[in-house]
Amino acid sequence: MEKAPKTAKRGVFDWSILGFWLIGGLLVLFIVLAILSIAVPELGNPGHLADVATDPSVLLTLGITLIAGLNAVAILVLIGTPLAYALSRSTFPGKGLVESIIDLPLILPHTVAGLMVYLLFMSQGIIGAPLGNVGIVFEDAYPGIVVAMVFVAIPYYVNTAREGFETVPVRLENVARTLGASRSRAFWHITLPLSSRHIYYGALLAWGRAIGEFAAVIMIAYFPMVISTLIYYRFATGGLSEAMSVALVMIVICGVIFVLFRLLLKKKEGPDDQA
């Protein structure tokens, strides 16, 4: 009698994936250990942590950081979305060069990025000078933080949004146009909703990148302090424990925001999934 072929039993663990998890899980472990190295000592002294978490200067800095990040993302969405769409729908000589320029903030040392932003927006800079004349100052000022954040976050938003637009077939826009929609109405009614998940995700990435920026920000605006500047300041003046408390507060707030946002994205029946 022939032996029946072995069949996989339902619900049996796929052991072959375990090796991948064992190797890849090291990266997750790396991040978790880094968080624990701050969290464990800090949670051992909850009184001090609570003092720092309710310190008005820390809260003010946190507020400035989060709101400046939102402002930077708003600017990126307004200007970066048309750029991402144009890139997704155009072919022209030199397109690779434009894409490389957009990617530049990814590979530049952040101090170099900060220097470039500073030279543009300082009081004698080619953008900073005329805007200074109408009362918009960037050096050691809130607008300086925002422009530095925008600069470093450009590729995160533009590239993610562009990928989203590229997932929407041009034929859908074509059909919309034959049905009477102008190019811009086809964009609003068809392309934008269908790439919304990418847009949201790009904005989240850009925001995360923006609020974590340190070097580029301090080059143009040491004050008002953003959270990374404050952590560095506390580390330099008060030692490791002072810096760690602020850092843990930042980790918790960012972690909560990111997890909530991801849950929202998952819950939202994304048109990207339906396309």
């Binding site: 077939p169 034929r171 859908l172 074509n174 059909v175 919309a176 146009r177 034959t178 049905l179 009477g180 929609a181 102008s182 109405r185 009614h189 068809i190 909703p193 269908l194 048109p271 339906q274 396309a275």
Partner: protein, 359 residues
């Protein structure tokens, strides 16, 4: 009426060459050709989605070459139907009317009418991803017709359908054309579709129109070798005219003399086209009535479909012969069987040989 006048367009290495077409109002017109021939590009030019490098597009004698796609009011259905995946069927169908600025009540009224006309009222609140191919096609047609276009452009609308849905949809389109009198320009590479639906057909290859006319004329009398290939002629040979007498040519094809209707002078190179369905085949042992051309051969393989069997017959002239299938799963011939094949002079189309077309 749609008229294309000397339309040319270069896209990378592909050229659309001097396309001129006349599609009269109310006609069902087909563009037929192999993949990559430029058929869809022609539809997109008519719809205003691509701008031709030169030439003019006229709709009812109005030059619309520079009119934007959104202002042309021409219905378009792509091969994949391109339904908006984030909209329900109802919203898909209403989209064009919304863009036209029609009131919500008008939109709803027309949507109801179209959904009913296409038998898809029960799908109104479903999303496209949940629909079958046939249902998607009906939604796409309803959406295209919602803007009340004088012309409907269809890009291989049956390509993604199973045979049953395909037949239903073909009948649906036939009825639609009959009832609405709308002008339809459809892209296809199926002879069945052209025979079933078309008033006229244009054969297209490598960005050029080879031939236009009624389907029976075009398929029975292709004017060039390439047109014969696209029209589905299975047996095409090159030969040299040996004799000419009384409107007949005797043509030498690889040492076999074939008689066909033609007036080419002896010595001329010609192309012979013989449709596989026009050939009679008999078992070698059976006697045959006199006929112009008789060739012996051996059946080497067979392709059996629902109703027909196409035999590959090897011999002095390798030929394909299509016969009705007699028994289920079997043809009356066996592989390796010696047979005789017959065809009359009327079934041999003799075309002039053209170096340009052969290469």
């Amino acid at each position: 009426m749609i008229r294309l006048e000397h339309i040319s367009l270069q896209r990378g290495s592909f050229n659309l060459n001097d396309i001129s077409l006349d599609v009269q109002s109310g006609r069902y017109y087909f563009l037929m050709g192999p993949s990559g021939a430029g058929k869809t590009l022609i539809l997109e030019i008519i719809a205003g989605l691509k701008v031709p490098g030169s030439g003019r597009v006229l709709l009812n004698d109005n030059d619309i070459t520079d009119t934007r796609a959104e202002d042309r009011n021409i219905g378009f259905v792509y091969q994949d139907y391109s339904l908006f995946p984030h909209y329900t069927v109802r919203k898909n169908v209403a989209f064009g009317m919304k863009m036209q600025g029609k009131s919500l009540s008008d939109q709803e009224k027309n949507v109801q009418r179209l959904l009913q006309q296409f038998g898809i009222s029960h799908l109104a609140d479903r999303y496209p991803t949940t629909l079958s191919g046939g249902e998607k096609q009906r939604v796409a047609l309803a959406r295209a017709l919602a803007i009340d276009p004088p012309v409907l452009l269809l890009d291989e609308p049956f390509a993604a359908l199973d045979p049953v849905s395909r037949e239903e949809c073909m009948q649906g389109l036939k009825d639609l054309h009959h009832d609405n009198g709308i002008t339809i320009l459809q892209v296809s590479h199926s002879r069945d579709e052209v025979y079933s639906l078309a008033d006229e057909v244009a054969l297209i290859d490598h960005g050029s129109i080879l031939q236009t006319g009624r389907p029976t004329d075009v398929f029975s009398h292709p004017e060039t070798r390439r047109a014969a290939v696209i029209a589905g002629t299975e047996n095409i040979f090159e030969g040299v005219v040996r004799a000419k007498a009384g409107g007949l040519n005797t043509i030498d094809v690889h040492g076999v003399n074939i008689t066909g209707e033609g007036n080419y002078p002896p010595g001329n190179r010609v192309v012979l086209c013989i449709r596989s369905g026009d050939i009679t085949i008999r078992k070698n042992s059976l006697a045959a009535d006199f006929i112009d051309n008789i060739i012996h051969g051996t059946v080497v393989s067979q392709i059996i479909t629902d109703y027909t069997c196409t035999l590959n017959v090897e011999g002095p002239l390798p030929m394909k012969v299509t016969i009705p299938r007699k028994n289920q799963g079997q043809s009356e011939f066996q592989n390796g069987e010696v047979v005789r094949i017959f065809f009359s002079r009327h079934q041999v189309l003799v075309l002039p040989f053209s170096e340009l077309q052969e290469h």
